[in-house]
């Protein structure tokens, strides 16, 4: 009966971070150093509910997900597994969502929103794995800060789409440029 709990939690950890089975592709000329074994993922919360009929898990209150690749804080985290089983297809993080991760170069990425929804689908042989931030979503990295109505991170293509965006490209500490559809700073008259 509780096997589903195991599946839910295992899938939750994998889904939050992306599954990286098999040897990691190292950079060209890399040494034959043994691959790092992935550290465990930990989830803390005040309470939790595992509904074995609806195949869902809900973590409630001061939820913290600690992983080697990402940290996530929120107040409610809901995960569900499709009736057919397999990989988790939906994770919803709600209320004061804070995500700290790193890009491919290891630069920190900090994202906040009221709600973050992870979805996983395979349609026509194509994997769709998306994280959608809504509710005053904001993303900040070393070079780019952005807000918008909705920020969609396509994990399969590792691309980010921002609806009604207001991006700020930080060229250096002293200057910044406002981009796209958001309210732009007027250029200085020449």
């Amino acid at each position: 009966m509780k096997a589903l709990c195991i599946a839910l939690a295992a899938n939750l950890a994998l889904a939050l971070n992306g599954q990286t089975n098999g040897p990691a592709a190292g950079p060209a000329g890399a040494t034959n150093a043994p691959p790092r074994v992935r550290p465990p993922t930990e989830i803390f919360s005040d309470s939790s509910e595992f509904n074995l009929k609806s195949r869902s898990a809900v973590y409630i209150g001061h939820v913290r997900v600690l992983d080697s690749q990402m940290k996530l804080n929120c107040e409610i985290l809901t995960a569900s597994v499709p009736p057919s089983g397999g990989k988790i297809d939906s994770i919803i993080a709600e209320h004061s969502v804070v995500i700290d991760a790193a890009d491919e170069q290891g630069h920190p990425i900090h994202a906040t929103s009221d709600r973050a929804v992870y979805t996983y689908k395979i349609e026509g042989g194509v994997t769709n794995e998306m994280i959608t931030l809504t509710g005053n979503p904001q993303v900040r990295s070393q070079f780019v800060s952005g807000t918008g109505d909705k920020i969609v991170w396509n994990r399969a293509s590792n691309s980010i789409r921002v609806d009604n965006q207001h991006m700020i490209i930080q060229q250096d500490v002293q200057s910044s440029v406002t981009n796209a559809a958001g309210p732009a700073r007027k250029p200085e008259p020449k």
Binding site: A3, C5, A9, V37, D46
Partner: protein
């Protein structure tokens, strides 16, 4: 405290009503019953003879209303081949045989047989009818990955 011989028919009657197959041995200290075991659920056909969920306790104390207080409680689940899948440990809990529910204000630890998954917290309710496991306080989940799973470079 009731005599052990008086408790046995009550225990067996209660559990038989629920179609639960329970066994226990008289305690050496006349307080409760030793090595309590109750098969809560079997696998569906064609594996109906295989136990799916087994509730055990080092000691069982029968209470009124179909309640059984267990110390050193374990809930173990098994696959259709009899292999252990999961074990839940609670130092102290109450088994409501009528409501088919196990609960406690104390500590619960759930661990998969392969050691990849650990769930623990304080205060829990496991309802067999509604299939709902609620952990009330200080929930901590650990997911360990298979040796072949590596971190991204």
């Amino acid at each position: 405290m009731r005599n052990k011989r008086q408790l046995w028919p009550i225990l067996c009657g209660t559990l038989a009503t629920l179609a639960i197959n329970a066994t226990a041995q008289p305690a050496a200290d006349s307080e409760g019953l030793l090595n309590f075991k109750a098969a809560l659920e079997n696998h569906p056909a064609p594996y109906e003879t295989q136990i799916k969920t087994l509730l055990e306790g080092d000691k069982a104390f029968l209470q009124s209303g179909g309640l059984i207080v267990l110390t050193g409680a374990k809930v173990r689940t098994f696959g259709t081949n009899g292999a252990a899948e999961m074990i839940a440990l609670a130092p102290h809990c109450i088994f409501d045989s009528g409501g088919r529910m196990v609960s406690s204000t104390g500590f619960l630890q759930v661990q998969s047989a392969d050691g990849k998954f650990l769930l623990e917290g304080e205060g829990f309710t496991l309802g067999q009818t509604n299939a709902l496991l609620i952990l009330s306080n200080r929930v901590h989940t650990v997911v360990r990955f298979a040796p072949g799973t590596v971190t991204q470079p």
